[in-house]
Symmetry: C2
Subunit: 369 residues, 2 copies
Amino acid sequence: MDAAPAPDAGPSAAHDPKPEAKARRATIGDVAERAQVSKSAVSFVFNGRSGVSEAARARILEAARELDWRPDSRARALSRSRAQALGLVVRREPELLSTDPFFPQFVAGVESGLSGLGYALVLQVVDGEETERAAYHQFARESRVDGVFLTDLRADDERPAQLDGLGLPYVLVGPVPPVDGRPRPIGVDDEAGVRRAVRHLYALGHRSIAHVAGAPGYVHSDLRRRAWEREMVELGLEPDLVVVADFSGASGARATHELLDLPRPPSAIVYGNDLMAIAGISVATERGIRVPHDLSVVGFDDVPLAAFVVPPLTTVRQEVIEWGRACARTLIALVEGREPEEVRLPPVEFVVRGSTAAARHRPGAAAGR
Amino acid sequence: MDAAPAPDAGPSAAHDPKPEAKARRATIGDVAERAQVSKSAVSFVFNGRSGVSEAARARILEAARELDWRPDSRARALSRSRAQALGLVVRREPELLSTDPFFPQFVAGVESGLSGLGYALVLQVVDGEETERAAYHQFARESRVDGVFLTDLRADDERPAQLDGLGLPYVLVGPVPPVDGRPRPIGVDDEAGVRRAVRHLYALGHRSIAHVAGAPGYVHSDLRRRAWEREMVELGLEPDLVVVADFSGASGARATHELLDLPRPPSAIVYGNDLMAIAGISVATERGIRVPHDLSVVGFDDVPLAAFVVPPLTTVRQEVIEWGRACARTLIALVEGREPEEVRLPPVEFVVRGSTAAARHRPGAAAGR
DNA sequence: CTGAAAGCGCTAACAC
DNA sequence: GTGTTAGCGCTTTCAG
């Protein structure tokens, strides 16, 4: 208590970051001066433009290093009329947020696509349609970002039209059917994954294969459901055992009960995601139905836990990180007015683990022919 | 091939957002003109400062609405010398990224704390120490953000010192012991959760309680481990059964094998997180050891799946969203030079499910006394 | 209470 | 090749 006006007053959570290093941050002018060149020369060097002699260039780089100077992103953004940032608006129900394997992986992929290109990723989490719309509006009107990723597309999604109106470039992320006049969507082939799952079960002798669908209205839920339907039909089976759930564990449990309560329960279930599948296994086990002996189960996503539940989950895996990277690169090309490279993503992978097995012949079950 | 220089050339994923609406975005000048006032009047209104008559104020708001104008964040950032953005650098190994329930929830919480305050969240995912350091450096030197969240603190973490050097404000996120001269950390009481888990098992008659620790070097891993140790000692038990893992499912499985291979395997295991615990259950089951009949298991995190595995996992839950919100508010106060409010987070919750049960008296097991 | 004017730090024409 | 200069759109003194 002897240091008079103590610079650090009070036991707060605050942290005052000016011990004395409040020395004005270097600017492009300082660098130019130190390197004996004009500001534009410095600018040119840091923007990869020609027109600076090798000698000057070396001095500039050296001066910048000595001053630890980097172009101020705010000033740069203002004068280039570009934010140098890309936006991602995530709309999620609380329960799904921390379960969804997509979001973190996608973000990681996007980052790796952005890396070194001078773009930042601006994230916004919203909880409803209204706030979602407002988020895009704000991104655009405040020039926070130069473009956005559109994920979790819904049937009749209004966001593409909204963004067109706002003049904000975007990439459609997901297994979305292309629409003329719209940017081509970037996504993996969910359909192929589901079809392989159904065929796999068929090959194991299953003829009564149910589907627990994800939240309706989302393109990826509906697509997975239709893929199941189509494959069933192609195999000559009736696609009648479907329960609509919402991707949550609770809904998966509920749907499973519903299916198992049927007079003729299915011998296999294809779930719209792993979370529902794992909940389904839990429900079956609880009811004394052994997986995979009495019931085969397939998930979708291949969450890291999938390999560690009992029994290990047979599921469909996508390379989400790769996917995010491709989206980032495409969006950058887009906002910079360049032609994006053709995107070619690895196909989905069908991962067979312990939750699927040969169908047991149950008397009374709808066996083949 | 007849439309000469077609404005939309090629079947690309690109999307050109200028159908004609390239109408120059409104600026503060347009609003001022329309409202018959000066630019500063508009600025004052949008910054909540007094000095504008009610009439003028109303006209300004009306004009802004008509023009759909919002202050340009880039220009505002430049003139206020503030980015109006907060940064989060996430360093994660690929496998853990999509499993970790913390990250998405924390982000959601931060967003809800930011909401309406005009700050954006800038995210960066990095994969190593070097890129991590570079990320903070870049955030600071380019003035991308006004402050950052520091998560996943490590013992002897160099980031606080780095950020002090860079003059970038931060909040420490986690169950970190406070250090004088540093901003007070914001976190929940991991220790209490682990201690409750151990006491719970003790009350069930377990005397041989092992711990599978998370990645060493992280404050939260070490804290959980020490909490287990301390509680064991207080209960008069020997804290000798500990295996160091790394939070991944694979490591949890390995650690579990190791413990079960012991001549006198534990009757209960407290894991550093749910993922390892679930992998542990899987391993035990595989080996013919029934959970909870032969082995009790406790996790940490309460991932959404925890309730749906077989058996449902007894675990410790934290209110991560609430936590993120508090961090956001504190950091904003910090960067704005205000005194942050005292943070009071809800205590951890111990969730008892089906993976713990009374200890079975095994002959030869180290029973009480 | 209102208006004019000087920046914020950088980019990009445009002369030299 | 290199330097000069005028903005980018907003905030914020400082006169009126």
